[in-house]
Amino acid sequence: MRTTGQRAYSHPSLVELACRPARVWLAPAHPAVVLVCLLAVHAAGRAAAFCYPAKVDSFTYALAAYRLWEPAASPEALVPDKPPGQAILTGWVYRLATGAPSRVTMIPVESAFMLAGYGLFWLVSNRLHDRRVGLLLTGGLVLAVNSYNAFDTTTDGFNLAENYLLAPSMLAVWAHLHDSRRLALRGVTCGAGVGLALAVKQTAVALAVAIVLHGVVEAIVRAAPRDRARQLAGMAVGMAAVWAPIWLFLAAKGLWTAQLDTLIRSSGAHVAAGPFDLPSWSHCLPLSPLLLWMALGLVAPLALRRGAAGDARQRSALLFAAVWLLAEATMLWTMTKPAEHYWQQVVPPTALLASLGASAFARTGSSLRASERARIWRCVGAVTACAVLIVAVPLFAVAQKRASTFDLQWERTEFARRLAEASAADSMPQP
């Protein structure tokens, strides 16, 4: 049942829209509670990833970072199939830290990058709809990212490029979707984000494609090609501004040619168009709370015959998020290794779509009478709570189980052993 009067909500808050029983369901959505839960999920995810029994990639990238920042770094210090961005961004910490080097030194750096990524996602979501919804959907993002990371069975999830990719990607998206009229500045910030992401891992090309495609579509739709051209030019400047110091760093060490050569040869090693298979349930499970809100947002406007489309900013963001998700899903499909952490790239666009879905859902429900709204909120709240619980519990269980195996002394000894092995391998004559 709908009331006859149309209420003037430009950006209705979910809590404002909900009536008393629904507020009970939204009570855990208090910012402080969500923030504490978010940090707890992040800590559990990091503990589970750090203490995974088979420590492969985390040592590879930590050693690369350590060796790259040594005064006499050799080309072998670089990871052959990865850009040098991650090693440059993280290796400095070994120069500052006191005591024996180990992977532990890398924990605060990785967490800082990931927390910055969550914060930037919250800024994007907050700008598009509502502070509290933004925080809730950020919680969904944190849960999904850490779940994929912790339950990866191919390698350990700690210190992976995907963990460092989130912050620059979200910086680029934040700048791209910002409604400021300072287009050149937006373009530069966006370009810096994309450039940084590409310097960390090549898969960020999906984000770059999405931003450019969206920019082109917007230029056509809004008939403002000059504005978009200015933005794209700014983007190019931003990318150049990020890549220049990286080039200088590598060139100063005489590693630029070697890195470029290996990168060109090995970039496509793990990418191929294979047969299309539907993803398994365990792959989709961490996304379930976000997919629910995405689905609700997609179908909710069907309930109203008019007036549910949102403002221009939200429509533009919706188009961008859809293009981004499509690009990331295509990238994921072409990956030849079945690693769960590749799914981390799909999480931010899904969370963005879920955020827009929550916004559309709240807007549609605003014209319903209180008892009907309460009934809907009860249903949706219960389903969301169940979905979150079912994703969160195994994550905490795996973190608890693995955290008990942590041994700082072993970490230091193992790092030193692997470092010595790598140095010895470098000094051997190449065939």
Binding site: R2, F151, S282, A295, A382
Partner: protein, 313 residues
């Protein structure tokens, strides 16, 4: 069948229990034959008994005390019978877990039919037995104690607490004090939760809408407390305590009929808004989609049955 066409009640009950046992059988066959769960035929029989028995108790008990539509109860009971033997990876010992499940269901049924002093004592004894078999069953007793305390029935709360203490004491004595504690396997917990997710979704909706249900005799306080204690039990896995997921999710099957009723009202009621219908449809589609892994496992059991029945070649 009598001359008037009326089927005797006993025959109907027997047919219903046989039907529930048939629903349980595929999962039980999987327990018996498919590695890595391939345990024994005794475990398969226990799985069938637990699945069919718990489902029959749920149906009879809910039908006797609540004015819920038969189809809601039938769907919940059928899903309980079919899914209970399928999700068993998180159980440290499958045989004792199934026995504990049946014990808890029996205790709930005894308690719920008539919560007098005698019945409560019988329920407490059954609960203690179930806890001795699988400590995860404590969730039911803790929920019972919680609801009793909330209703200021201290005596009932003491009985429930005594049941927990007795169950744990029996277990300690049976295993020997200082027995090595093995935490739950997180991957097994995740797999079982994935299999039972549709039940948790519908049960969660039932829990949220139960207060509004004016079913005759429905007193959901103890049920809500049981669900709350079970959720706390799920989090106990974080402390390294063993968590048998089907035992913890058992109360969600009891709230699922309320959830089904709420979803059907949202979908088909003339007073329902379009958004309400769309919302219910999305949740239903999601529930069906999330039920695919459990359905696949159940069908594997059917395939095993056919393979063992059909002639070779």
């Amino acid at each position: 069948m009598s001359r008037t066409g009326h089927i005797p009640k006993a025959a109907r009950c027997a047919a219903a229990i046989a039907g529930l046992a048939l629903l349980s059988a595929p999962g039980a066959l999987r327990v018996a034959f498919v590695p890595p769960d391939a345990i024994s035929m005794r475990a398969a029989v226990l799985a069938t008994t637990a699945g069919a028995g718990c489902a029959a108790l749920l149906f009879v008990c809910q039908r006797a005390t609540c004015d819920l539509p038969t189809w809601c109860l039938a769907v919940s009971a059928a899903s309980l019978a079919a899914l209970l033997p399928v999700a068993n990876e998180s159980a440290p010992n499958i045989e004792t877990a199934y026995a504990a499940l049946f014990g808890v269901s029996l205790a709930v049924a005894v308690f719920r039919f008539r919560p007098t002093a005698g019945r409560a004592s019988a329920a407490a004894a059954l609960t203690a037995g179930a806890i001795a078999l699988d400590p995860t069953s404590s969730a039911w007793a803790l929920g019972w104690a919680w609801a009793s305390l909330a209703a200021r029935r201290v005596q009932a709360a003491v009985v429930a607490a005594a049941a927990v203490a007795a169950g744990l004491l029996i277990r300690l004595l049976a295993n020997g004090i200082g027995v090595a504690r093995t935490g739950p396997d997180p991957f097994a917990v995740r797999d079982d939760l994935t299999l039972l997710m549709p039940v948790a979704l519908v049960g969660g909706i039932g829990l949220a809408s139960m207060r509004r249900c004016h079913a005759v005799g429905a007193r959901p306080a103890w049920l809500a407390a049981w669900v709350g204690a079970s959720i706390a039990g799920v989090f106990a896995a974080l402390l390294g305590l063993p968590a048998t997921v089907p035992v913890l999710l058992l109360p969600f099957w009891w709230t699922a009929p309320f959830g089904l009723l709420e979803l059907s009202r949202m979908l088909f009621s003339a007073r329902s808004s379009r958004l309400s219908r769309i919302c219910a449809a999305v949740v239903l589609v999601m529930t069906v989609a999330l039920g695919a892994p459990a359905a696949r496992r159940w069908l594997e059991g059917i395939a095993i049955a056919l393979y063992s029945v059909l002639p070779a070649g």
